[in-house]
């Protein structure tokens, strides 16, 4: 217990953000403008913009965070504050394919443990880990709203439902 207490870190750890600010293509800038135009208050666009930065850069890396702060006229800490609250935002690199297995009750009783075991054995990693080649990250996540088609997992934004071990093999085998 005491060792746990000593190891507690502040929520927003000091990060060396450096001087680098990310830049994006004109198409991506246009997409960002489209989101910003939806709101009377710039800050409201923070989540859609974070998803764009994450898509373009893999995760919310320091240059990406610096870009968001500059674009939204916010402080770096404002960006970190939001980024650390939401489970879909990554402040550390994740695998190219982020496999998120739903572990909440309906999926749990409909076979999630077997699916998790199968995925992890196949990839040779445990939940929370990334394969050495950086291709796959496996996470156990809370309810994704697919309870009637349980068990399920999501890869990136794609839903895969009514899973069996054979179906998991087929899905993983079909990834480029």
């Amino acid at each position: 217990m005491s060792s746990q207490l000593i190891n507690i870190q502040p929520m927003s750890q000091p990060v060396d953000i450096g001087d680098e600010v990310a830049s994006f293509s004109p198409e991506v800038e246009k997409e960002i403008d489209w989101h910003l135009a939806k709101y009377p208050v710039m800050r409201s666009a923070i989540l859609p913009l974070m998803f764009i930065v994450q898509r373009e850069r893999g995760y919310l890396d320091p240059p990406g965070v610096a870009y968001l702060a500059k674009r939204l006229h916010l402080r770096i800490t404002d960006i970190w504050e939001v980024a650390t609250f939401y489970s879909m935002l990554h402040t550390k690199p994740v695998g190219k394919y982020h496999i998120q297995i739903c572990k909440t009750l309906s999926c749990k009783i409909m076979g999630e443990p077997g699916i998790t075991e199968h995925v992890c054995n196949k990839l040779g990693i445990k939940p929370g880990e990334t394969t050495a080649d950086g291709r796959f990250t496996v996470s156990l996540v809370e309810c994704l709203g697919s309870c009637g088609t349980a068990p399920m997992l999501q890869i990136g934004f794609d839903y895969h439902e009514n899973l069996t071990a054979a179906k998991v093999d087929q899905i993983l085998g079909s990834l480029p």
Partner: protein, 429 residues
Amino acid sequence: MFIGAIGCEPLQLARVHLENSHTLEVYRKHGGYESLRKVLTSMSPDDVINEVKKSALRGRGGAGFPTGMKWSFVPKDSPKPKYVVCNADESEPGTFKDRYLMERDPHLLIEGMLIAAYALGAKTNYIYTRGEYRYLIDIMDRALEEARAANLLGDKILGTEFSSEVYTHTGAGAYICGEETALLSSLEGMRGHPRMKPPFPAVSGLYASPTVVNNVETLTAVPDIIRMGGEAYQKLGTEKSGGTKLWSVSGHVKQPGVYELPMGYDDMEKFIMVDCGGILGGKQLKAVIPGGSSVYIMRADQIIGKDVRMDYEGLVAGGSSVGSGGFIVMDETVDVFESTKNLTEFYKHESCGWCTPCREGTDWLVKVFRRVADGGGRPEDAQLMLDLCDNIEGKSFCPLGDAAAWPIQSAIKRFPEDFKKRLAGNGQL
């Protein structure tokens, strides 16, 4: 998976099986946007609110607050802009009805939002969708584009003086953002922390302006209310809960799905055992959570032979509540200690950390559950869990704390054997 109506004509699910049901063409061919036209050309905003009041429509997100009354709280004389925000942050375990409404009939939601926007005088409206439902945001964006091109959205809608815009917004993975004030914090670009009420969003919501936050299912009920009249809609259900209700059914049933039933459907046993095909693999029913993970768990003997009526009052009388209408059906193989532990882990993960009773309480509950699960159950542990729940329930800043406590309290009370067998000396309760 089944999607359809039982015991009534489908209203909200009327078009879901049509080919290309998500397109404007199909929606209009089946009477789509005629309610909006009726509202814009022949009704005053007050007329609309009165119809919704007459319909006895109650909020379908979980709290069940009368929708017409919620709308009437928006001050008419406010100089500030007004907003309608659709809560599509469907994250309550066991609930997946909004997903299919948006996937199959996005224009129904747009029409419902525009009618609400007209009634409240809102020029800008947002659909806050959970981040994981990205494919639905894409479907909604395409539908909004279609509506805009057909002059059903934007300036001078259908050639009238009414102008209003609807935009999609993405969440990013936080159950708490389904709570309406946390949703508004998130939509303003903050951490999703709930806010003190009062002031209620109707007075001071998004950007401190009058705001109505309604669930997807609530807003998609509105076009039918306008089409058939509030009274006729109410008569489909009961006096206090009008219309039809969507129930998401998952777990150990032969036919899981989204079921549209008239409010006050008789009865819950028939629903599970006949309509949903009964229990998988010929096993016995053990427990049902009827309203999403936050409501009281029910024993089979509270359902079988008990004529539990499926509406707000009926389910309370039966020992639980409607919540979000998410049925999780569990057979005899389920250990209720394990199922309750699973949900407690969920609430601990989703507690936003804003208030102490919920943040610390859910964390301690999980620690006790894990210790018991690992074989270290002490005689007093079930009582310890109840004491922890007592320190959360009614003492947290928002209802998430209550939602974490209720499943545990009801599980220990109704399935004491599943807890006691894990505690040293068969426990003390």
